[in-house]
């Protein structure tokens, strides 16, 4: 299957990066940089900052690929987690007051549909969509917004116009419900 083959190729390349093969890093970059740049832009909004973070992401991949375990995580999940965490850390350090990514980032990042790597498993995608669909609307969009835009509890509460404590308990309850649904 095409998806399986591409996922395997990326996983193999990551493992070669773990052995210090710099050409394999270029391979990983070519396969994933557009997606990861989209992830950074969506959280940070600002292109030059996103470029800095994207650079950090692949340097981190170069250093940490030895710890990538294909049995524990799919390669794109592992890479996207690095991109998201780096972007969130940068956003929090640079703009602690900011609570929404600037519009530009949203517009840019959503412009192109996935063409480079669609490495997500379709079954997993459908199951997550189904389970998220089972949550109430404010919780559903809050969880998506946290994951994709890097919003904090505080930002989400402000956005929804509810007290912080309310947002926290909404989301925590929704997460437990989601877990039950996904494990079913």
């Amino acid at each position: 299957m095409e998806l399986e083959r591409r996922r395997q190729a990326l996983s193999d390349a990551l493992q070669r990066v773990g052995q210090g093969d710099a050409a394999a890093l270029k391979d990983v970059y070519d396969r994933t940089s557009a997606k990861l740049f989209g992830v950074c832009l969506r959280i940070l909004g600002e292109p030059s900052e996103s470029e800095d973070v994207l650079q950090e992401v692949y340097v981190t991949v170069w250093r940490r690929a030895g710890g990538f375990d294909p049995a524990r995580a799919s390669p794109i999940t592992w890479l996207a987690a690095i991109a998201r965490n780096r972007s969130i850390d940068r956003a929090r350090a640079a703009h602690p007051e900011r609570y929404r990514p600037i519009e530009q980032g949203l517009a840019v990042a959503d412009a192109a549909p996935s063409a480079q790597v669609n490495l997500e498993n379709e079954e997993d995608r459908q199951r997550l969509a189904h389970c998220l669909g089972g949550l109430d609307e404010p919780q559903q969009s809050a969880i998506k917004s946290a994951f994709l835009d890097g919003c904090t509890y505080e930002a989400l509460a402000r956005e929804a116009g509810v007290p912080l404590g309310t947002m926290k308990s909404w989301i925590r309850r929704a997460l437990l419900k989601l877990r039950v649904c996904l494990e079913r």
């Binding site: 997606k35 740049f37 995580a73 840019v108």
Partner: protein, 244 residues
């Protein structure tokens, strides 16, 4: 897999749910400051907690499919290549009396010769054949943060390498020394650089090293240059030679 209780929150005990929620909050980036660093430290010390984080990452991973792709500018890759040849901690050099582990740098450099070949084939679409023996070559030597520090030209007809400084170098009393690193080979000294441009002799060995995808690199050495014949100080700039 879990023995389900009637409660909507599932069967895991309240304590366990707390731990699992902390992992999910970290993955979603819901918490800030201390809570975020505490979760990170816990993940590095507690494999069970790290596994919970992995599980949440995997659960939410399909959402990444909603993020549109944006091709980054080519300069990003060039900066990545620059960073892995000279790890970013060399930037903190002025506070560091001695380079910690220059061996790492040179190992990375060796790996980069493979990378240089890859860049060439994929990004630059330049000929991969060895340069003609008399062809001039040029390299932009950049710092780990991507700033260009020197531009070097190698002219086999004149047996010379000319190096022009284009950025500020904080040598702090040490001598910047230029090296050539052939693909898969060891660094060979070319000469010391000055604040103004320098024209250094290119020996037959240097010319031979330069034939196939060589890298030029500058390290900071004790006054007068390395006495061991190999770089001993931090790499402050590096770049690949390309046909002019």
């Amino acid at each position: 897999m879990t023995d389900q209780g009637p409660d909507i929150s599932g069967s895991k005990g309240p304590g366990e749910d707390e731990v699992d929620l902390a992992a999910a909050e970290y993955v979603l980036g819901l918490t800030e400051g201390d809570a975020r660093s505490i979760a990170r430290e816990r993940a590095s010390a507690d494999p069970a907690f790290a596994a919970r984080i992995d599980a949440w990452e995997q659960r939410f991973s399909p959402l990444t499919g909603d993020v549109g792709e944006v091709t980054p500018p080519d300069t990003v890759w060039e900066r990545i290549a620059g960073s892995i040849i000279a790890p970013s901690n060399v930037v903190a050099l002025p506070n560091r009396p001695r380079w910690m582990n220059s061996l790492t740098v040179w190992r990375a450099t060796a790996a980069l010769s493979t990378l240089a070949a890859a860049c060439l084939a994929i990004v630059l679409i330049l000929p991969t054949k060895p340069s003609a023996p008399h062809a001039q070559q040029i390299a932009t030597l950049t710092a780990p943060d991507g700033r260009p520090l020197y531009v070097a030209t190698l002219d086999p007809a004149q047996n010379a390498v000319t190096v022009i400084p284009v950025g500020q170098v904080a040598a702090s009393g040490r001598s910047p020394e230029l090296w050539i690193i052939p693909a898969g080979g060891r660094p060979r000294p070319i000469g010391l650089l000055r604040v103004v441009s320098a024209k250094l002799p290119a020996t037959a060995a240097v010319l031979s090293d330069s034939r196939v995808r060589a890298i030029l690199a500058v390290s900071l050495e004790p006054r007068g240059g390395s006495t061991t014949g190999a770089p001993t100080g931090p790499v402050i700039a590096a770049g690949t030679l390309r046909p002019l």
